[in-house]
């Protein structure tokens, strides 16, 4: 029996824009993944849910400019809870190029920006899952 990839998706902080994350949620579910979408969440709530739901992947969406401040917090909390290395961390949103580099260095496994297609996202995720 094939085990479904389990993905937690969240809006990072108070960001009001959710069109993108709703599209991603549907696409991943249509691709056979189990998707848990928790809406607007603090880094604490995201890591809490990641632990509780025992997901494989944590994906956060940020178009409100808090990708560095809160994005880093998600990873450091993950490290505190010892789930930094065992899971894949993704971010999507309106993120300047320089910040993408920073976030990747911090430990995000992939960053998706405007224009990323369903195919690209799924391929990258499946690639990352294979590596794990």
């Amino acid at each position: 029996m094939e085990v479904k990839i389990k993905v937690l998706l969240a809006k990072l902080g108070l960001d009001i824009h959710n069109r993108g994350i709703l599209i991603v949620a549907k696409n991943l579910r249509d691709a056979g993944m189990e998707v848990i979408y928790i809406g607007n969440s603090t880094p604490e709530q995201i890591i809490g849910a990641a632990l509780q739901e025992d997901v494989d992947i944590v994906g956060v969406s940020s178009l409100g400019g808090a990708h560095l401040s809160l994005g880093k917090k998600v990873l450091s909390l993950a490290a505190d809870k010892h789930i930094r290395d065992g899971k894949i961390y993704l971010m999507g949103g309106a993120i300047p190029e320089d910040d993408i580099e920073v976030l990747k260095k911090d430990g995000y496994d992939a960053i998706f920006t405007s224009g990323a297609t369903k195919e690209e996202i799924i391929n990258i995720i499946e690639g990352l899952v294979k590596k794990f």
Partner: protein, 585 residues
């Protein structure tokens, strides 16, 4: 009410002025028809005959098919006086004023907002120094979602996508040295709830400066669609209560700030979230109609309320569709106000609008292309007769605009106004066979969608049931697939892709210490204000919420007493309870 609730279709069908006086002579039309058929059979190729009507694939477009060519035959019954009228006369298709832009240029109203109020104040002055004729301010995420800058939920997000405002003190700083009695301000309070909190803070600040309310001019968004349907948030109030707050705002503002537009019916945010050019207008009109009904039931005269009604549209890429739909909206609204609401004052029939060029259509790839996109969109809206414009900036996909990008948006407007001569002539597209046929078709489709909403039980019911959420989700899920497949061509993204190294653009950096500054200010405020008075005004507000009074005067008392936004929101939550919107993926 004993009266039969008439459907929108029956009301509009019954309207009649005079009989149809066709512009075209029937004999001549016959001649044209004969020639046209010959031409179609002999000059037009078979492939074109087969594909006579095509549907343009554009982002956020309508599904309206377009013919290869339009002729008088397509508007055979066109009655100039009934379908168009002259500008400034019923049904206002050609424009709300007789002299349109010769008399009143479109207002160049670019949005600004980042950091703390002192930061945005500087940018507002910069824009005014460079020719902006109207101001517009947008708030950061905590302020928009109604949490204070010192709330743990706000951490890391203060001032990053708008300006942080926690109290009336911040409003004073935001508008420091700005002549509020001379320049109009759009205060982009998206939701009824945050309008009810932030606008009174603005009023309290104006009071402190000795500016009487009747000297203030501007706009608030104040739209239920924005709060309940097209935003993501951790906490929502129930739709009926949000709508009540919207109407409380409308009533209070109309009665006390005579030059203020109390809602710009949405519109933009819903459209850009993902819906068609027709649905955008239908939903905004449904909201506006239900709002009018509510205010009339409160005892107000329709002409009194309608005087300050305004709309806010997104402008996307389908050039003629965008111009035609503004005309269609003007005509339809005129009919609705006259025949459904019995408005006596001609001004009540005006569909005045602010427009914003679509953010969704702007790509991250090759961002300078966005300057071109936004320019065409802006031009379409001017040809459509919009009252004021915001041109989205080329760095839209990256961050809030840099000073340079914001300035270029302003220049785009100035170039249209000063260099192209399109504003010399009223409704330049009027009389085009294509544009008139398209205007008619769009109007029909808006009416169809209004009927759909009517069937749901009205605008608020359509939201409560999740019908509107699902309609929008279906649209954008389908559209996204088309954008990715290339069915909707997007230059530089899914077609004409370049392998060249992209030049990096400057991206705006938010002031990093805005959070610190705001937290300090809140501390100081809470130390120096009369906290007993604060407790009292919050209690009075809660009573007003629960007893159906108009809550705005009570919110104004809170603003005067130095209450923070988060404190007021807590009262709204405890009074109305929370609501969960339907899941739509």
């Amino acid at each position: 009410m004993a009266e039969d609730k008439k459907t929108i279709i029956s009301i509009l069908n019954k309207k009649s002025g005079f009989k149809q006086d066709s512009l075209f002579d029937k004999k001549t039309l016959k001649l044209i028809e004969t020639d046209f058929k010959k031409w179609k059979a002999s000059s037009v190729g078979e492939a074109d005959r087969k594909n006579w009507e095509t549907v343009p694939r554009t982002t956020l477009g309508s599904d309206i098919p377009r013919k290869l060519i339009y002729t008088p035959l397509d508007i055979a019954d066109f009655d100039y006086r009934k379908s168009l009228g002259n500008s400034g006369e019923e049904p206002f298709t050609r424009g709300v004023h007789p002299n349109m832009y010769r008399g009143k240029k479109f207002t160049m109203r670019q949005i600004n907002g980042f950091g703390g109020p002192e930061d945005t104040n500087k940018r507002l002055k910069f824009m005014m120094d460079n020719g902006a004729t109207g101001l517009s301010v947008i708030f950061d995420l905590p302020t928009t979602q109604m949490y204070d800058s010192d709330d743990p939920i706000s951490a890391g997000q203060v001032g990053t996508s708008g300006v942080a405002i926690d109290s009336a003190v911040d409003m004073e700083i935001l508008f420091e040295s700005i002549p509020l009695d001379e320049v109009t301000v759009s205060i982009v309070t998206h939701f009824p709830s945050n309008t009810a909190i932030l606008f009174p803070m603005f009023l309290a600040a104006a009071e402190k400066r000795g500016i009487p309310f009747d000297k203030l001019g501007g706009t608030v968004q104040n739209d239920t669609t924005m709060e309940e349907v097209v935003r993501s948030g951790p906490e929502y109030l129930p739709p009926k209560d949000v709508f009540r707050i919207q109407c409380d705002n409308n009533e209070y503002i109309r009665q006390n700030i005579p030059r203020w537009n109390f809602t710009t019916f949405n519109g933009y945010n819903m459209r850009d979230f993902g819906t068609s050019s027709v649905t955008e207008i239908a939903v905004a009109f449904a909201n506006a109609m239900e709002t009018l009904e509510n205010l009339i039931s409160r005892g107000h005269d329709v002409d009194f309320i309608a005087k300050r009604l305004a709309f806010f549209w997104s402008i996307s890429n389908d050039f003629f569709d965008e111009a035609a739909r503004i005309r269609a909206a003007r005509r339809l609204w005129s009919h609705i106000m006259k025949h459904k609401f019995g408005a006596k004052d001609a001004r009540s029939q005006w569909m005045r609008c602010h427009v914003q060029t679509s953010g969704l259509t702007l790509t991250r790839q090759e961002p300078l292309n966005n300057i071109v996109r936004a320019s065409y969109q802006a031009l379409a809206s001017v040809l459509g007769g919009a009252q004021s414009l915001h041109v989205s900036s080329y760095d839209e996909a990256y961050a809030v605009p840099t000073e340079e990008a914001a300035l270029l948006s302003l220049r785009t407007q100035q170039i249209i106004q000063a260099e192209t001569a399109v504003t010399e002539v009223v409704d330049p597209l009027g009389g085009s066979y294509y544009v008139e046929a398209l205007t008619d078709e769009i109007e029909k489709r808006i009416i169809d969608e209004l009927t759909e909403i009517e069937t749901q039980g009205g605008y608020v019911a359509a939201i409560e049931r999740g019908w509107l959420h699902r309609k929008i989700a279906t649209y954008f899920q389908t559209e996204q697939a088309k954008m990715e497949s290339g069915e909707i061509p997007i230059v530089g993204l899914n077609c004409y892709k370049s392998n060249r190294e992209e030049a990096k653009i400057d991206v705006f950096s938010y002031p990093e210490d805005a959070e610190e500054r705001q937290i300090e200010k809140i501390e100081k405020l809470k130390e120096t204000r009369d906290n007993k008075a604060v407790d009292k005004v919050l209690k009075d507000l809660e009573d007003a919420c629960k007893t159906g009074k108009n809550i705005i005067p009570y919110s104004l008392e809170c603003a005067r007493a130095g209450v923070t936004e988060g404190e007021v929101f807590r009262v709204l939550k405890s009074s109305f309870g929370l609501w969960s919107p339907p899941e739509v993926f």
